[in-house]
Amino acid sequence: MKKRKPIHWGSVADTAITYLLLLAVGFVFFFPCLWLILASFSSSGSIYSFQGFFPSGYSVDSFRKLFTDTAMYDYPRWFGNSLFIATMSCIFGTMLTILTAYCMSRFRFKSRKALMKTTLVLGMFPSFMGMTAVYLLMTQFNFINNHWGLILIYTAGAPLGYMVQKGFFDSIPNTIDEAARLDGATNFQVFCKIHLPLSMPMIVYTALTSFTWPWSDYILPKLLLKTKDTWTVAVGLMSLGETEFSRFAAGSIFIAVPIVILYLCLAKHLISGNVAGAVKE
């Protein structure tokens, strides 16, 4: 048996303060979420009938109304729209981003530096500076009120965020490639057979980020989707006022929960993904 250590009052106090701080932090981050969750189960819809943070009565009515009372606010439809746009953009965007990052990391070609500088400069422009132009382009191509127009824009913009993934590919040693090349593999095969399996965590991370971006974007859909039945969840929820507060809360909870669970499962990858992006060339 171990001998009992003498108690250091200093370190006990330190531990106590640490835990107090942790509790405070946990409270600060959790309480607003708890408030929304409680609100979604409130029996009356309006925010004015709440007793402070807590609703006066509880029921699952708002969830039921969310899916059945679709005359004014067609939540299931918005949900479907969002899901379609985000899934498609996620698939195409992830493919393009991973491939771009792979090329930028592994190949040395003439226009490489120029391309990298261009993406850097493009990133300096305010994000929706080109919004008017995109809108005009979309009217020219007849893509207003069309989900494919949005998917096209999200997919086209995705490869610009390749830096994190490039950092990841940079960390895979070149010797693996060289060994495979000696065995006669083409670059295409090297990518499919070696790098794809190795970069699974990075692909998951990319897919997650390129899913959540269209999933929670509101400016582009608001600009391009004019009719109510083409709206996405973000645009739809924004149109709800204070009297529909619990419906807003229920709708938010419903779309936030899957993402939150995904993120919690991927907490480890998030840390490493963030770091890969931080390390510059």
């Binding site: 531990t15 640490t18 942790l22 932090v25 946990g26 981050f29 607003p32 408030w35 929304l36 925010i47 709440f50 402070g52 943070f53 393009l96 491939l99 771009t100 090329c103 190949f107 391309l115 993406t119 400069v121 493009l122 422009f125 305010p126 929706f128 500076m129 080109g130 919004m131 008017t132 132009a133 995109v134 005009l136 382009l137 020219q140 086209a156 913009g157 490869p159 083409t186 670059n187 295409f188 999933w215 929670s216 509101y218 400016i219 973000a234 929820l237 924004m238 204070e242 938010s252 779309i255 993402i259 939150v260 995904l262 919690l264 907490a267 490493s272 963030n274 770091v275 931080a278 510059k280």
Partner: protein, 432 residues
């Protein structure tokens, strides 16, 4: 190139005249026909719309519409954007044209050296091997050109026109040079608003970046302490905040601080007047709420970043420091801080710029308010919110575009300066 001009044989010259002709002479049917198709396609494009678009770019239209006489007129804005598109198509065409000449010249050299022209299938295979990057990057480059570069170029050009306000199609738009910048910086209704917003914008970016950065760092250090059990559990709370889509958080907080919201409920319960935290006259309370809400949203991600970086820190240095009798604060001041600042300088820049252009916070908390003394803006609006109000809600396109250019100049200058002055740039090897 000069060498090419001197040594070119008849077939290379043929390709210069008609794309793909030289390749066809070398019996490279597939490739030759593809080049030929590109040229025919481009000529077809020029004849149908391209030539008109290319010239439309300069004139921006000359026929004003007149419904009285049934004249349809020119739409200057469409002419401008399609003109830019036509120029991009032309540049891409020239690139293909040059590659066509280079290709046939390479074949000429190959044949002269005793080889035979490459077969079509070999070339296709080469696209999956040596030229794999060309195959892969083609789609992203075209996509970025059309949906990112084209809009940006268009807006840069719009900044030098009088598009917007009264002058929207069917009225004709014209080039006006630097007039818009003069308006913003020197005269009339725009200048006072611009400088007020600019000052607040800098203050906001500095404060919010500092709060988020040090908040995230201290949270990471707190979670990293040896005495903390169940790190994953404690870390889950900030990640929860990180994972919720931003617009939900922001609208939620807007409800929380609204007149009917819970905070005002407790204030009225205590017998006071309800406070309009985000109301028209709530200058500083709205600004502070904005800072706090932004901290709530952004601290988790900088915590994740700091956690990752701290896990790379060299533990033996801390051991040595402890042996030398350094206290916890000294360890933080002389070991942790320099290391973290060194590793995160690039991220710090991008966070600063992200905050400088943080559109969502005040758009959701206080969107659509116009306050006296400001031209189509409120006292919490950042430049990017003003840009949105002007160009998307109120049709001041040219002024909006000029403001985006000013934002671009500011952010790129800052990042350049910080980057050049940062330790990560000056002494890259310190921590390797």
């Amino acid at each position: 190139m000069r060498e090419l001009m001197k040594n070119a044989n008849g077939r290379v010259t043929a390709s210069m005249l008609v794309m793909g002709l030289g390749q066809l002479c070398y019996r490279q049917w597939g490739k030759g026909l593809m080049y030929l198709a590109v040229q025919i396609g481009y000529i077809f494009y020029l004849v149908t719309v391209g030539a008109r678009d290319l010239f439309g770019f300069f004139t921006l239209g000359s026929v004003e519409s007149n419904p009285w006489y049934g004249i349809e007129g020119d739409n200057s804005v469409i002419m401008l954007i399609m003109g830019v598109l036509a120029w991009i198509v032309t540049i891409l065409y020239i690139a293909v044209y040059l590659s066509n000449i280079k290709d046939v010249y390479a074949t000429q050299k190959r044949v002269a050296a005793g080889g035979r022209p490459a077969r079509f299938r070999e070339e296709l295979q080469e696209l999956l091997d040596g030229k794999f990057y060309k195959t892969v990057l083609f789609v992203p480059v075209v996509g970025v050109c059309v949906f990112n570069i084209l809009p940006v170029v268009f807006m840069i050009l719009v900044a030098f026109t009088n598009y917007g306000g009264e002058i929207v199609p069917p009225a004709l738009v014209d080039w006006v040079g630097l007039e818009n910048f003069r308006k913003i910086l020197a005269l009339g209704e725009f200048a006072p608003t611009f400088f007020k917003i600019l000052g607040w914008n800098f203050l906001w970016a500095l404060l919010s970046t500092a709060i988020n950065y040090f908040g995230g760092l201290s949270l990471a250090l707190l979670l990293n302490k040896k005495c903390v059990r169940g790190k994953a559990f404690w870390r889950a709370f900030p990640i929860l905040a990180y994972a919720i889509p931003g617009f939900i958080t922001l609208l939620g907080f807007k409800f929380m601080f609204s007149y009917g919201g819970p905070i005002n409920h407790y204030i009225t319960e205590a017998g006071r007047q309800a406070i309009g935290f985000l109301d028209l006259d709530a200058k500083w309370s709205a600004r502070i709420i904005g800072l706090l809400v932004n901290a709530w949203i952004s601290i988790p991600s900088s915590m994740l970043l700091a956690t990752g970086i701290l896990s790379n820190a060299d533990q033996s240095q801390y051991e040595a420091a402890r042996l030398d009798g350094a206290g916890a604060f000294q360890q933080f001041r002389y070991l942790t801080l320099p290391f973290v600042v060194f590793s995160t300088t690039p991220v710090l820049i991008s966070q600063f710029i992200g905050n400088f252009n943080n559109f969502g916070i005040f758009y959701f908390l206080r969107g659509g308010l116009y306050i006296d003394g400001y031209f189509l803006a409120s006292d919490t609006d950042l430049l990017i919110n003003w840009l949105y109000n002007l160009s998307i809600d109120n049709n001041y396109y040219a002024i909006g575009a000029a403001i985006s250019l000013i934002i671009f100049i500011i952010t790129s200058l800052i990042s350049l300066a910080v980057y050049v002055a940062s330790p990560a740039y000056r002494q890259e090897e310190t921590y390797r």
